[in-house]
């Protein structure tokens, strides 16, 4: 399992691995928001938590189509399926690698971009915490979507269509934590829900992803 994780991380860091693309996308989306809605600081401050969450979500989504498709194309998935590693661990490790290379950098970049969006000081902590709790769920749910569409030639658009509705609860609770935190409201319920969604997704979805992947491999 560690070997697979190290390989995926190494692949992401090598040329053409796509590391940093998600981050760059996040930056561009965030920069384009003030350009499209106007520079009023009060407006930006009120929408900043939501924009950061949406930007992070889209950046995550963007990088999903490489998650399994590359291994599918070069036959690695066939070989991994016949390896001693259960497919459930394979998809979990792949989701983890995706989170480390995409989710974690987004969490770290969010406060910096928060400055650009005039995020209130009280909001920084909660934006980071909510993203830290929510992005693992995004990676795991995304892996399920990637597994569903792995056999399709141009599955990218379809995958977005499938994954976005599944992302909604995470987005709603995550952005709610950030939004409420920024204005100093009570955040316990959405925070617990967000953590619950992440924990349950990490625990259960790999089984669905592996099952779906087996169907696609046959």
């Amino acid at each position: 399992m560690i070997a697979l994780l190290m390989r995926d991380l190494r692949l992401a860091l090598r040329a053409g691995g796509g590391f940093g693309l998600g981050l760059a996308f996040f930056l561009i989306v965030t920069v384009m928001v003030p350009l499209s809605v106007g520079p009023q600081p009060a407006l930006l401050a009120s929408i900043a938590p939501g924009v950061l969450w949406l930007g992070a979500l889209l950046a995550c989504l963007l990088s999903l189509d490489r998650l399994l498709a590359l291994d599918w194309e070069d036959g690695s998935l066939d070989l991994l399926a016949t390896a001693p590693l259960p497919l459930e661990s394979v998809v979990s490790v792949k989701a983890l690698a995706h989170w480390i290379t995409t989710g974690l950098p987004l969490v770290l970049a969010a406060p910096v971009l928060g400055v650009l969006l005039n995020l209130p000081v009280s909001g920084f902590k909660w934006v980071v915490i909510s993203l830290l709790l929510g992005t693992p769920a995004l990676s795991v749910i995304g892996t399920f979507g990637a597994a569903l569409t792995v056999g399709l030639k141009r599955g990218g658009l379809l995958m977005s269509l499938l994954v976005m509705p599944l992302y909604l609860p995470t987005l709603i609770f995550g952005a709610e934590v950030a939004r409420r935190g920024a204005v100093g409201m009570e955040i316990q319920t959405p925070l617990l829900m967000l953590a619950g969604i992440s924990a349950a997704s990490i625990a259960l979805l790999p089984f669905a992803s592996a099952a779906v992947l087996r169907i696609n491999l046959r």
Binding site: I2, A3, L4, R7, R10, L11, R14, A15, G16, G17, D71, E73, D74, G75, S76, D78, L79, L80, A81, T82, A83, P84, L85, L217, R218
Partner: protein, 204 residues
């Protein structure tokens, strides 16, 4: 430790292609599959390797003993030859990559990114993976594609050595590897379509 296939029926895209297949692969034995294109050799190999379920019949004795090599080699172009190979060695937790590199004459290429290899060299790298899996039953689908004469001999030697150590191999190939092996013509096992009026759950 022998692989036993009993009365196997397999389908591709929902259409039965081969039926009534039975054979046994004992330790130290190699079995060559022959048959025209599209007859279902790849489907058969994937079924035996456990990648897809058969329509009916039993595949037994292969659990966690099979190393499968299909049309694509699962090679990452941005990783070097050594990195590619040691990844699989780690996943399977067996075998040293040094002997595998030696067997397929990859030692001089070991620090080269796999993307810079020629098609034949890539194939050799793909086949060398079999040696680091430490698994006794090799299931190989057209292993000699894009190999030159010298490399084919290299591959045949590797198979022979593997058989000598008590391994076995099931190979779909059209060229003569010079192995002391049995040949299974799958043509006669071509599935006969069921009566056209018999319209059940399978729609056929």
């Amino acid at each position: 430790m022998s692989l036993r296939i009993t009365d196997l029926c397999i389908a591709r895209g929902g259409i039965p292609v081969l039926e009534g297949l039975s054979f046994e692969l004992a330790a130290g034995q190699a079995l060559i599959l022959r048959g025209p294109n599209g007859i279902g050799k790849t489907t058969l190999l994937r079924t035996v390797a456990g990648l897809q379920p058969p329509i009916s019949g039993i595949v037994e004795g292969g659990e966690d003993l099979i190393a499968y090599a299909g049309h694509s080699d699962g090679i990452k172009p941005t990783l070097t030859v050594t990195e590619n190979l040691s990844f699989w060695a780690n996943v399977f937790g067996a075998g040293s990559i040094a002997t595998a590199l030696k067997a397929f004459d990859l030692e001089t290429l070991q620090d080269r990114p796999a993307g810079a290899l020629s098609a034949g060299q890539k194939r050799r790298l793909g086949l060398s993976r079999l040696l680091v899996t430490g698994r006794p039953i090799w299931i190989l689908d057209e292993p000699t594609v894009s190999l030159d004469v010298k490399s084919v001999a290299m591959f045949a030697d590797a198979v022979r050595a593997h058989l000598g150590q008590g391994g076995s191999a099931l190979i779909a190939t059209h060229i003569d590897l010079g192995l002391d092996s049995e040949v299974l013509e799958v043509g006669p096992y071509k599935a006969k379509p069921p009566a056209i009026e018999d319209f059940d759950g399978g729609f056929l």
